[in-house]
């Protein structure tokens, strides 16, 4: 996984920067202070400079992020450090009456010390974000592998082939359609390299998967799609729906003799996409661990790609199981404005 600049437009990144910077400064102050009172006093004084500098930098990086993201990684981090130092210098210069103590002997030292500290803290933070991405990226690699394995899960593969063989003599047309669905499913599973794909494509794939399961399970498998309020230009990470559905079929529908309904609600609300999937669950079905890996992986991928802007919650009742996923609403390239291409770039 190549190094990428942190996404300065993501709420998670902004919050992390604010917490870490303030935390580091406070630590430094209290390390020097002789008493709590002095520490608090110092924090108030330092904050008068620190907060404007921090907020201005965050604002600047927020605005410039699309441009920064286009540069190569070494250049972009160098530019970020230079920008932050410049902002720090400028604010101090403008507000010199306010910031530089009247009795200060060495004004120059004071000025340059702050600019250098700002640069150093920025470098530290960039290193932190780089390490964080590296620590989390195995989850992404694993996700691709697992998504592939999930789709060619032996249980699904052999049962489906068996079902197709079961209808090929009686209903060759239906068998043809089933094999075509299977080919599509496997092609997508094996070829995917992108991080985001149009939501309708993911839904189509999920429907092809369900058609195959319906071949085996017949009337036992009922699916209720409700995605009226879903914009066509929305993008989502691949392999979110299908593993969830496979889990619902394997643990929810198959153990029930009379079958049941999988309920999928997928809609846009405010600036987020909400996915809510409910499936029945057999009362005596023992707690399962088999496909848990796929679900844990979805959670990890969402955390890595969207940080705190995505959420994943599970509600497990006595006779039902519900997964709720909230994703930021990202638009596809087809609506070509600067904004959306920028959005694309920042998650790629």
């Amino acid at each position: 996984m190549p190094d990428v600049l942190p996404n300065f437009r993501s709420l998670g990144v902004i919050l992390r920067i604010m917490l870490l910077v303030n935390g580091m400064v406070m630590l430094a102050i209290f390390a020097r202070a002789a008493s709590w009172q002095e520490g608090v006093q110092q924090i108030v004084i330092v904050s008068a400079l620190l907060q404007p500098v921090l907020l201005s930098n965050l604002l600047l990086l927020f605005i410039l992020h699309p441009l920064l993201a286009k540069l190569r990684y070494p250049q972009s981090i160098a530019l970020v450090i230079v920008l932050v130092s410049m902002v720090t210098f400028t604010i101090q210069n403008w507000g010199s009456l306010l910031y530089i103590p009247q009795n200060m002997v060495n004004e120059n030292y004071y000025m340059w010390r702050n600019v250098l500290s700002a640069g150093a803290i920025t470098a530290l933070l960039l290193m932190y974000f780089k390490l964080r991405t590296q620590a989390l990226s195995p989850a992404l690699h694993q996700a691709r592998l697992q998504a592939l394995q999930a789709r060619i899960r032996p249980h699904f593969l052999f049962n489906t082939i068996n079902a197709v063989l079961g209808i090929v003599r009686a209903d060759p047309k239906k068998a043809e359609a089933a094999l075509e669905d299977m080919a599509d499913l496997f092609r997508t599973a094996m070829s995917h390299a992108s991080d985001l794909l149009p939501v309708q494509q993911e839904i189509l794939l999920a429907k092809q998967y369900l058609a195959l399961e319906k071949l085996r399970l017949g009337e036992r498998l009922q699916v209720n799609w409700r995605c009226e309020n879903l914009p066509d230009d929305a993008l989502i990470p691949p392999f979110i729906l299908q593993p969830l559905l496979e889990n619902a079929v394997y643990h929810g529908i198959e153990p029930l003799a009379q079958g049941g309904v999988i309920d999928i609600k997928f809609y846009k609300k405010d600036d987020a996409l909400h996915l809510e999937m409910t499936n029945p669950r057999a009362l005596r079905e023992p707690s399962h661990s088999g496909n848990k890996m796929a679900l844990v992986n979805i959670r990890e991928r969402l955390a890595l790609q969207f940080d705190i802007e995505a959420s994943y919650t599970v509600e497990s009742g006595a006779d039902f199981y519900r997964v709720q996923i909230v994703l930021p609403y990202l638009k596809s390239k087809s609506t070509t404005n600067q904004e959306s291409t920028a959005d694309q770039a920042k998650y790629s």
Partner: protein, 258 residues
């Protein structure tokens, strides 16, 4: 046994159990193909264990093809109930994928077929079926980590499935065990010790010859025998008027449960 000797005997009767219609269909087609090589007759098919037991106790089959993963009652439990019929049918398991079960089948030389099933493999297995050895009850129990969901009682050629949660107590009497539910009593031929182990979470032993369902215990009472003047504890079960004696050795459960 070779093909020649089989062709002279009566056709092999076969029964299919699988919850998925296309899978049953596939087996039927394959059996039709096999019928050109050995005389066989498809007796019927069922989508679940209960249906299979009902139909098979009416018309027994030589061979039962049993899918492992089925709702309500899985193939292993069905085999446990089928095994008690007299004579028991030859059981051939079918499965698409189940590494755990397959390892166990190999270990105990139990016949199984992998889906999608090849005609030749099915034919080979059917040719062996008549001479197949009955799978031992302990082996079947080892195939699954789960306890059965039902006990089965065979009466006058009919198989009764008794859901385990309906059982109030199990009492050993001579060579049988009485299974008591609210509605009636059944007799089964099993060992009380094995039942105690299999359903350790559900039943508790109150006497050398008796296990009671923990959740149906209503209370305990101390009774005095009129003739000997000895006192002993009894347990009262929900919905049942009779009280079951607790042996001295098991008296500690009175404190543990109440």
């Amino acid at each position: 046994m070779n093909i020649a000797s089989i062709t002279h005997s009566a056709p092999l009767t076969i029964f299919i159990v699988d919850d998925e219609p296309p899978a049953r269909n596939r087996l039927k087609e394959l059996l039709q193909d096999c019928a050109q090589h050995i005389p066989l007759k498809l007796l019927g098919e069922a989508a679940n264990g209960q249906q299979a037991l009902d139909q098979l106790s009416a018309t027994p089959a030589d061979v039962v093809l049993v899918d492992i993963r089925m709702p309500q009652m899985d193939g292993i439990e069905l085999a446990q109930h089928l095994n008690k019929m007299s004579p028991p049918p030859a059981i051939i398991f079918t499965t698409a994928y189940d590494t755990y079960a397959i390892k166990a089948f190999e270990l105990h030389a139990i016949d199984y077929l992998l889906k999608p099933i090849r005609q030749q493999r099915l034919l080979d297995t059917l040719l062996r079926a008549r001479t197949a050895v009955k799978i031992q009850a302990e082996v079947l129990r080892k195939l699954t980590s789960q306890a059965r969901r039902n006990l089965s009682s065979h009466e006058r050629g009919k198989v009764y499935l008794i859901p385990i949660e309906q059982v109030l107590y199990l009492r050993a009497e001579l060579k049988y065990i009485t299974v008591r539910t609210l509605a009636r009593e059944y007799l089964i031929e099993e060992s009380l010790n094995a039942l105690e182990q299999e359903f350790a979470e559900i039943f508790i032993r109150i006497h050398r010859n008796c296990l009671v369902a923990k959740k149906s215990i209503e209370g305990f009472e101390k009774l005095t025998e009129a003739d000997t003047n000895e006192t002993h504890w009894t347990v009262k079960l929900k919905g049942l008027s009779e009280q079951l004696p607790i042996s001295r050795r098991q008296q500690h459960i009175v404190k543990e449960i109440s």
